[in-house]
Point group: C2
Chain length 538, copies 2
Amino acid sequence: MSELAKVLGGRPRRFYGWGYADESVSTEELARVVATFAKRFGVSGFDVTPPPRVSEFRVRAPRIEPPAALAAICTGNPEARLAHSYGKAWLDSARMFRRHCPNPPDVVAYPRDESDIAELFDWCTGAGAICIPYGGGSSVVSGFEPPESERPVVTLDLGNLNRVLEVDTTSQAARIQAGALGPQLEAQLKPHGLTLRHFTQSFEISSLGGWIATRAGGHFATLYTHIDDLVESLRVMTPAGTLNTRRLPGSGAGPSPDRMFIGSEGILGVITEAWMRLRKRPCFRASTTVRFGDFHAGADAVRALAQSGLYPANCRLLEAKEAAYSPDARAEGALMVLSFESADHPLDAWMTRALELCADHGGEWDRAALESDGSQHAGAAGEWRDKFIRMPYFQEHLTARGIIATTVESAITWDRFRDFHAEVMHRTMKAAGRIFKHPSTFTCRFTHVYPDGPAAYFTFHALAEKNTMLEQYREIKQVMLSALVELGGTITHHHAVGRYHRPWYDRQRPELFAQALRAAKHVLDPNGMLNPGVLIDP
Amino acid sequence: MSELAKVLGGRPRRFYGWGYADESVSTEELARVVATFAKRFGVSGFDVTPPPRVSEFRVRAPRIEPPAALAAICTGNPEARLAHSYGKAWLDSARMFRRHCPNPPDVVAYPRDESDIAELFDWCTGAGAICIPYGGGSSVVSGFEPPESERPVVTLDLGNLNRVLEVDTTSQAARIQAGALGPQLEAQLKPHGLTLRHFTQSFEISSLGGWIATRAGGHFATLYTHIDDLVESLRVMTPAGTLNTRRLPGSGAGPSPDRMFIGSEGILGVITEAWMRLRKRPCFRASTTVRFGDFHAGADAVRALAQSGLYPANCRLLEAKEAAYSPDARAEGALMVLSFESADHPLDAWMTRALELCADHGGEWDRAALESDGSQHAGAAGEWRDKFIRMPYFQEHLTARGIIATTVESAITWDRFRDFHAEVMHRTMKAAGRIFKHPSTFTCRFTHVYPDGPAAYFTFHALAEKNTMLEQYREIKQVMLSALVELGGTITHHHAVGRYHRPWYDRQRPELFAQALRAAKHVLDPNGMLNPGVLIDP
């Protein structure tokens, strides 16, 4: 069993990109997607770069050796180190396809328990090393990428801390180790009839600790959108010591200690466990797809729903051309994927009222396709969901063809959304016309919605030149991210900040807060060894 | 117009206790309550101490004089200073009835705008003074009481900052000055058809900034229990500068800056404005009262409701003897005050299912009294609510008679609640039997409920000896508060920490968090002038 497999339950993963090595898109799926893109870009075919092999990288020799006591849980193996160098953003994939990885971690450590972590902290402190917590590796913002530094880098892969330690069925909560990946924790909760139900697109290869450290966004489009609300208490190891917050359903005792660590992106400590709020597995469902003549009519309906107090589980609005994954740029209008779910009661009253609100805004739906029988995956909505979950497996095939596929996501209040949307679209398409030779596409959907505004998620596709594609990518990304922040949105609704969003995050968050956070970090991490450069300067 | 009246919209308040000077309980109300307590304690009458007058206090001369530029907004007037010395806890009232107030603020300042606050900061910094932000004055935890210190104390009464500055009806949000009291801000929102609907028991004399600084708990029993969730963004003045957080419906960009200031109890800065999430005024209501044979059967029903996803607006469980305000200690069972409200849809489906859950746990209700006609204040539930809002006006009359009336409130997960409840009750009643000559009462209700646990609110009444009543109070309070924290609850669900809860808060919150918070405070308040001693040591 390889070093990587040891951590990942015996199932090897691709070192250079998304997912498990034994999982991929089928030849037919790929052919269909490639044909779609060829038509979209107006080309007859693509130059295909083969996927990288470990032997094609010149992997720098480790600059540090673990002490004997830690040797059994550490590796300097090139594949393991490459696999822990980049996340899963398009830029990460593109750099891998360039066989470019000059700055891998020197050592990857796989602690088995907290005493291992304490020893690793001691070692890093003594050696002046940087220590980077690593959960599932799905970051799309360079969240765990080693910084360029003279200090050696030890990456802590928490994959061995993957157990559900305690389940409280009365309060519907569980104590879960932070390294547990989505499927691992759900499998352990299932026998209790409970679920965390935090389904990110990265679910397969993202971890509880990673979700908490990055304020991940889950399955629910309303109410419990971020992992933040599902955290009951945390256990965090910092270089200055270990702390437990108290397990409470609610509290008003000072600023929330949990909220200091939720979103801290590995700079304050390593989250090792959390008590998480769960729910019974739903047995009632109602879902449908509603069509709107244009995106803003759909947005008005979403707003009415978000302000109605009906709290749909899903209420995603997609531009029709994105929903259909269509090569036809003329596809117009919008689709709302609308669903309710409950472990307690039938949802007819909820759905009936929701559809009245949709009708008020010109929405139309197929009454025959209205599902309330527990079948979750049929119809247009189901089709889109399946694609959504499978989508990351396409990434390497797009990168190999020079196709840029990237997203930016934000949130903004309703009063500003229409102008925000128009201007983000305008600036991006204008820049795309300058940067790319072939026609690009840029579409918008809502991933989550609030009474006071939507989380808007923009997807960009373009055909780049193979030898300048990183530069083209950076140029268009700069335009998009600057637009989000300049127009009043957040730089990220649920992808986190990492290294990629840092310059724009700096413009968004109050400088005095950065100073206060830096002071807090100095207390918890006096040597500045934890993920330096993420969120704040050392 | 007096100095106080100037701030409080021309309506003078009692300097020594609750509420407006022109508002009081009626002779009949008072006679009934006094008779109830006499029967409960088994006494024929009470020795009544007359309410204090300003002239009965030896008010220390101010230790500091404002500079000429600030003289117009500052006062050393004894009544104003006494009124800003203590909050509204029973202990505060008792000290006032003892004519004991050795440590009033030296100056009360009434800034008219942010530039006044900046000048006051500068003055305090230069003079080495302590600066204490003051909202509505309703603290029951000594949240703004000047500490014993050689440093002079300037209290910043934010009562002039009471305007709604901007209303966004599309996003249902408003920018509101922090000094606005509950009725002031609701009156300004009403023409827009919107409401913050954050109805604390202190609503009449508590402010938006105070709610945010103390993580106050409002009207809603589920979902939006704390003010925390209603904050869209903040504007905070600190001695190191002013900061604005970005107005966003949701974000995942690093630890939430808002959450650092929410609950900061005046130690990090002065909140001057907030964008708050509002809602349309409800037009659909369904409410009833459900009776249970015992408190824990009721608690099981509340748990089922809290975990159902029905999200009742009110779901408070009261011991029957508390609900009835009954002199009859044998009153048994529990009442659930259950209601739903909406601005969007009729609530029959919600209430029907909620009552099924109540029936599953033996709940009974009067079908005739089931209200869904918009009449909110009829029936047992309405009767209780009216008493709830009026109750603080009784405080001075109880204190005058040596009757201790105090509460402690906590939250704990469901799995531990039954033992927690029993042990808190046991320890308190055992201690009460030792401390008090007459029979005491101690009852429990749920003020807010979560899927993972209830917020439990305990009310204690005892007849003390006039000359030792403060000591008796401190002794019983020590027992109660220690029980909450030792048994795993929070020291406060929504009353905040202040100076009264500080020793127990220290046992609850992780020491490393205190150190991090202290470091953050040093950045924002380098001279340690803001409310020192609250939450953390200087």
